[in-house]
Each structure stands twice: as structure tokens, then as C-alpha cells.
């Protein structure tokens, strides 16, 4: 599983990264967490509000810091 955090490195992006790590840890998943900070790449993915979270290439959350519990639900399907 590939998880991408899209954001230019602001405080909210850090928080989303932390929450994603917590969710992955809680579920015991084997996931690769990648930070995407290049703004052209972020815009190219169709994201208009950061931070955003993409799961296996699909942008699932945009413009807000999701809680670890919410990300867990998302990853469990």
C-alpha cells in the first residue's frame, strides 16, 4: 500500500503525516508513506486544498487534517 501526503510542508501537513503514521501503526499495515511537497505535482494531481492524503494513487482526503481514527476507517475500507 502506498500512502502519499500532499502538502508544501506546513504545520497541518506535518499533523496529517503524524496521524497517518498513527493509523498505519494501529492497523499494523505494511505501507509506504511518501511526502509530496512539489507544488506543481500537487496541483497536477488535481488537489486544490492542502494537506491531502492519497491512497494507492487516489486522492481520498483534501484540505483538512483527518484524525487517526478516520484514516484507519479509510484504510480498512
Amino acid at each position: 500500500m502506498k500512502l502519499e501526503i500532499l502538502g508544501s510542508g506546513c504545520a497541518r501537513c506535518q499533523q496529517l503525516t503524524e496521524n497517518t503514521k498513527a493509523a498505519v501503526g494501529a492497523l499494523g499495515l505494511d505501507a509506504e508513506i511518501v511526502k509530496v511537497e512539489d507544488v506543481a505535482t500537487i496541483a497536477g494531481r488535481g488537489v486544490m486544498a492542502t494537506p491531502a492524503l492519497a491512497v494507492d494513487g487516489r486522492v481520498r482526503i483534501s484540505g483538512r487534517v483527518a484524525t487517526p481514527a478516520e484514516i484507519e476507517r479509510l484504510l480498512r475500507h
Binding site: R12, A40, A43, G46, M48, G63, T67
Partner: protein
Amino acid sequence: MTGRSMSLPVLDQPPASGRPPVAPGPGHPFVTRPAVELSIGAVLWIALYATIAPLSSWLVTGFFGVDGGTRFGTALQFFAFETPKVLLLLVAVVYGVGILRTFFTPERTRAMLAGRRETVGNVLASLLGIVTPFCSCSAVPLFIGFVESGIPLGVTFSFLVASPMINEVAVVLLFGLVGPGVTALYIGTGLVITVASGWTIGRLGLERYVEPWVYALHVESGPEAERPDGRARLAAGRGAVREIVGKVWPYVVVGIAVGAGIHGYVPADALAGILGRGAWWAVPAAVALGVPMYSNAAGIIPVVEALLGKGAALGSVLAFMMSVTALSLPEMVILRKVLRPQLIAAFIVVVAVGIMLVGLLFNALL
């Protein structure tokens, strides 16, 4: 909780958190229906709000034994009453706006703006700029998203100016400290400026000063629309309170403290000469001073309110507040990635001139 001022437990337990006084047991997340959360929150909020006046005057005169007639007493009373009042108003409005914004995503706003004619588009973009969640850190992806879907440059700028200018923090502080009349004036003239400056930028035909890679970029379809339920919307409101009030409260406290000092110690009309209506240069000076200042509307409005009470002219003061909120240096630096310096300069000049005209007009009329 350590080292916070007396009103701040409110922030840790926002009135709208919906939790009853008894904490839920561990492992049993407390489930609440939105209606229950809202009514408990409203009752708590009203109770707290009603306590401010008696509690603050008791604290100053009864507990600290300060004579309300002295300069120090006037300042202390102002601070003790206005700080919790403004913070409580801020909690309620930021919570409400946080919920409202779950209905307005940038994607939905873009869909509403796409294909609009310019003038109508400028008006709609300004109005949507107020309610769409926006942070200057995502100014670039938002700009690209708008331009890529064919929204005219001028309409995009109307959105980019309205969003920070007419924001909930500035509006609450103006309303709570200065009053509804000036708040309405600020919002009304603010909208005129955002519409007119966006329209002007559109007429100037500056598209060639957008970095060429923006138009060449291939943009994917983007995030699928989320469908938040009532609980998720309320959670967004609580999140907004944590994030926004958590960030601006120190500015509010310091700003009101400075304002209180001015109220108590500066004689009435002391500023009428320097910042009064007669000083024609006050408006350009206010704009020149306000543009480099960023996002400190929370700390500046209480000071501005105090200056207004000491004879500063309303037009100069409005111009100062608008230039603080509408134009910010960090946002220009961020936008430099997609805009050439010529376009950034045009953007600053057009908006600054609009603000100056409003300031001069009010100084002449009022």
C-alpha cells in the same frame, strides 16, 4: 493548561463539544447526535456569556479592589470584560463557520465559477471567497485549479482577495469591539474592492504574466467528493475552533491589553490631529504600513478600535485593516511560483489603490 489566561478553559472545552460534565468511560467513545451537541453547546455558551459582565466587574472592583474611576481601573475593566467576550464570540463564530465550510469545498466553488461571464463571475467569486475554506498555504494549487478549468484570471483574483479580507476572525473582532455598523461597512466596501480589483485585473489582460508552465500542466481529476454526515460536519466545526482560536488567542489577548492601555491612558481626541480626517496622507500611510503586516488582524483590530475612540478617522482605520488582511507579503512570495513579478505588482497596486479610494472616500464623507 498551564500559564493560560482565565478565559481559556473555554477553549479546551468549547461550549459546542457536546460532552456532558461527566466524562465518558474509557473505551466507550461518547456518541452524540448533532442536535444534542448543538443545544448543550448553545446553553453552555449563553450561560458563560451572561457571566462575563458580573464576573469581570467583581474581579476588578471586588477581588482586586481597583477603583473603576482611575485610569488603571478603566483599562483593567476594559480588558477583563472585552477579552473573554471576544474569545467567546470567536469560539461560536469559528465553530459555525467551520460547519458552514463543510458545504463549500474548493471543488464545488470551482464548478460554480466555471463558465461564468466576467462581471457576474467577479461578484460570485468574491462571495464564495468568504465561505470557501482557504489557507494561503494552498494558494498555488487553488490558483492552478481555477485557471486550468478556464476561470478567468480576474475572477480568480476576486476570490484570492476576498478570502483573506473578509474572514471570520476579522469580522468577529470588528463586530465585538467596534460594532455592527463598522462591520457592515467593512464587509460591504470589502466586497466592492474585491469585485472591482478582480474586474480591473481581468481588463488589463495580464494572462501572459502567468508562468507558462501553469497552462502546460496536465491536471488529473482530483479528489472525489466527500459526503460528510452531521457528526463529521460538527467535528469540522470543533477542529476549526482548535486550529483557528488556538492560533489567534494570544494576539487577541495582547491586542486587547494594548487597546485597554490606550483607553485608559491616552486622552480623548489626542490623535485627531495626526490620524484625523484632516490629514490627507493618513490613508496612504495606513496602507503602506498595513500591506507588509500579515494575518495579525486579531491583534490589530483591538488597537485600531482604541485609536478610533481617540479621534482617528474611520476611513484611515478601515484602509489600514483592509491592507493588513487583503494583501500579505508571505502570500505574494507563495504566488511568485505561478505569477511573474509584473502580475504580482499589478495585483498589489490595483488592490492598494482600491483600498485607498475607499479610505479617502470615507474620510471625505463621514
